[in-house]
Amino acid sequence: MIVTLKRWTVSELTRYIRSLIDADYRLQDLEVEGEVSDFRIPGSGHAYFTLKDAEAQLRCVMWRDALQRQHYMPQHGDRIIARGYMSVYEAGGQYQLYCRELRPAGIGDLYAQFEELKAKLQAEGLFDSARKRPIPQRPHVIGLVTSPSTAAFQDVITILSRRYPLARVILSPTLVQGDAAPPQIVAALEALNARPDVEVILIVRGGGSLEDLWCFNDERVARAVAASRIPVISGVGHEIDFTLTDFAADLRAPTPSAAAELATSITVDDLRAAVHTLAARLNSAFSADLIARRHALQRATHAFERFSPRAWVDNLRQRLDGLVSRMFYAADHALSLQRASLAGARRALLAFNPEETLARGYAIVHGPDGRVLRDAAAVSVGDALDIHLYRGRVQASVQRTEKNGHGRESIVV
C-alpha cells in the first residue's frame, strides 16, 4: 500500500500552524512572566524583545500605539509581566507574543493591594460624592502639600502667580515618594488643617513610575485627605494615573498644573474685568442720577411757576391791563358817539335859529304883554307892538286888524 503524504508548502504549513494558535482561546488573552532581554525600539516605533526564564525564550513584539499608552518602559534584565495574545509571524516563521501591556513583576501584589484597599475605603464611604466639598473660587490662602525640590512645585507656583497673584501660598513641605513619605504627607496635611486661614489644599506630585506614586495609595494618606477639614484638590502623576488620594480628594486634577488651575477658577483677569464693569456702572449711575435731578429740577421749576404768587400777580396784572385798555376803548368810543351827536344837535339847532329867519326878512312881533304875537285877534287897535327885525327894533301901534285865509285877522300897523 502506497501511502502518499500530503506535501505542504512552507506557506501552507505556517498558515496552518498560525490558524491552530489563533483558534485557541487560551492563547488570545494571556499573561506571561519573564525576564526582559534585548529590548529595542527601531525606527518603526514598535518594540521588540525576548522574554526568557531558565529554560526557554519567547519572542515578543509591542506595536507602537500600545507602546505609547505604556507608562512603564522595561529595560534589559527587568522581570516583567506581559499581557497579550499569541500568533505567528509567517515571514519570519516565528510564533510570538503580541503585547498589549507590560508591567513590572511584583506590581501584581501592589495592584491587588490597591484594589483591596480601594474597595475597603469605598465601602466606608470615604470616596462618596456626597462628601465632596465645593472648592472656593477666590482663595486668599492656598495650602500646598508637595516637595519644593520638584518640577511640579515650580509648575504650581508659576500657574498660581499668573492666574491669581492675590493669593498667599503656604507650602507644607513633604517627601512625595518612598516609604517615609506617607507619614510626612499626613503631617503636612494636618499642619495646614491646624491653620485657620487656609481655604483650599493642593496635594501634588509630578509623573513617575507606579512605585514612585505609590505613597499616594497609602491608606494613611487617603484617610488624611478624606479627613481634611479644608477642601483638597489632588494632582498626582499624569492624566492616566489614578491614586487613592485622587479618589479621597474633593476634586481630582489630572496633573499638578491642572490642580493649580482648578484652585483658581477666578483669575486676576476676571477680577480686572469685574472692576471695569463696576467702574462703568458707577459712571452710568452717576450720569443717570444727574440727568434725573436736572429733570426733577425742571419739573419743580415749572410747578413753581404755575403755582407761585408771582404768576398770580402777573396774571392779575394782565387782566388789569386788559380791563384798562377795554376801558379806554369804551370811553373813546362813547366820547366819539357823543361828539357825533353833539355835531348833529348843533346842526339842528342852527336850523331853528330865528336870526336866520330874520335875515331872510321876517320879523318877530311882541305884543303889549311882551309875548310873541301869532294872532291878530290877540291885539286891539292902539296896542303897542315891539317888532324885532334882523337889524334893530321898531316900536309901533296897531291901527287895524284883518282876517286872512286862516280865518285870522291881519294886523295893519
Binding site: H140, A152, L160, P173, L175, D197, T255, S257, D289
Partner: protein
Amino acid sequence: MDERALSFEEALAELEATVAKLEAGGLTLEEMLTLFERGQELVALCEKALDEAELRLETLRPPATSDQPISGEESGE
C-alpha cells in the same frame, strides 16, 4: 493677615455696595456726589491692588523626619 489682598477684597466689596446704592437712587445730591467720589477711589484702589499683586509664598517647618533628597521624580508636566 493678608493686608493687600484683604484691602482688595474690602475695596471690591465696598465698590459693589457703593454702585448698588447709587443705582438704587433716593440719595441727596451731597450723598450721591460723596458716593461717586468714593467709588472712583475704590476703582483706582482695586486696579492698583490687581496690578501690584504678587504671589507670596510661605513655607511651614518641614516634618521632623530625615531630610533625604527626592530623586527619580520626572519633571511632570
